[in-house]
Symmetry: C2
Subunit: 234 residues, 2 copies
Amino acid sequence: MVENSISDAASALDDEHKIVDRVYSAVMQHTLAPNTKLSESTICESFGVGRMKARRALLLLASQGIVDLRSNRGAFIACPDQRDADEVFEARIHIEPSLVGQVADRIDRAGLKALGDHVKMEKAARRADNRQDIIRLSGEFHVLIATVSGNKFLTRTLRELVTRTSLIVALFGSGESSCCRDDEHEKILEAIKSRNAGQASELTREHLEHIRLGLDFSQTHNSEPDLISLLRAN
Amino acid sequence: MVENSISDAASALDDEHKIVDRVYSAVMQHTLAPNTKLSESTICESFGVGRMKARRALLLLASQGIVDLRSNRGAFIACPDQRDADEVFEARIHIEPSLVGQVADRIDRAGLKALGDHVKMEKAARRADNRQDIIRLSGEFHVLIATVSGNKFLTRTLRELVTRTSLIVALFGSGESSCCRDDEHEKILEAIKSRNAGQASELTREHLEHIRLGLDFSQTHNSEPDLISLLRAN
DNA sequence: AAAGAGACAATTGTTAACAATTATTGTCAA
DNA sequence: TTGACAATAATTGTTAACAATTGTCTCTTT
């Protein structure tokens, strides 16, 4: 019992973490669509936890902007609008090119292997035409760069930005552009390998701009206007 | 009753927000020292809320790294170490110079006034030798820059970084350097006013390096040794 | 048949009691 | 006096019941 107390104490806090992680993954591979309701009972049953932990997990998800808490209504997967999208890409363009440059300067052998393995996985997913993996791995490449930089704060920040980006792409991605072209990740990795910080940084900036340009905000993706126009069509 | 339902619903979520804000302010002006315990009962009494809201607020504070939750022990103001400090300054140097450059390019009249007013307040606090205000306003200048940029995500991120910086300075700040020299803020503002993005960016980078150089990690700032040496003095 | 009122069901928000763990105090023996 | 050990107090973690709000369905009325 004494020995278990350690793992019990850990799992006590990590139950919520596990829930957050699963929701995060589901959003990353577009399994959970924006505006999907996450009821407390659903989470309780899915993860076999009490209502308290479910609510704590939802609060954590809300604090990360993945979920939207509406009073007396429940929790819903966030539904970013164009303004949110602008903020996310603005933030990413402030952070990622600079971060990639630093990584190019300082990365060690283990880091290079991690990035190389990841790019290989991306390629494999693309060959297998596994859309869910493709889209998830594309996003996680950017988080992995933060991870190999060793900066936990930036890793968490990028994780949040990438998750929001996934929601944005789910809403406004136009066809092909829904996932990064993996050759861009490969080129960035090449620049890092050759320790060319300036080039790695610039390639990253361009890569982010490409993703941004692949978005189409012309369609209204709100909840109400769609219905209104639909009803008028009748 | 119907009218109140709106404000009630708002305050329902904003009770926690209010608590988080107050703790944030207290940390920013060094009223709450690292490792201080925040018991649930304390918060319940201080803010007149139930235990549920107190715990939600503590969870939010923990998710922002301001507070450290220890299982069955309670919540303690975070106690960053040198590694944490390195991460925070690394992140700030990735973000802030780039952000200030953008602000210099795009700021409008209202934004300039906000920054100007803030610098005046800093000067006034310095003249009045109000140490708490000096240290708080010094940190909030950096958050204000993110605010005038209009990017809510970066505002939240910087808020978190600045709060952690406040804890770091409280632990490792050596004498004078405990607060930014306000002339540096003034110079940055001048560069922004003159729309010189490059200079504003560079000044910001140097400013952050100056704060970092004012830290002294040689002393051990653990929890126990302090008390032991204090008692030995008796 | 459509609109609206009202009852019912389902979900979320809150409170309070209970359980478990940790911190503190007091006692006893060396 | 000091150390370990036991009992008590205080604090946190969890569960369950209750309250309040929202959504749905039916029934009435026009």
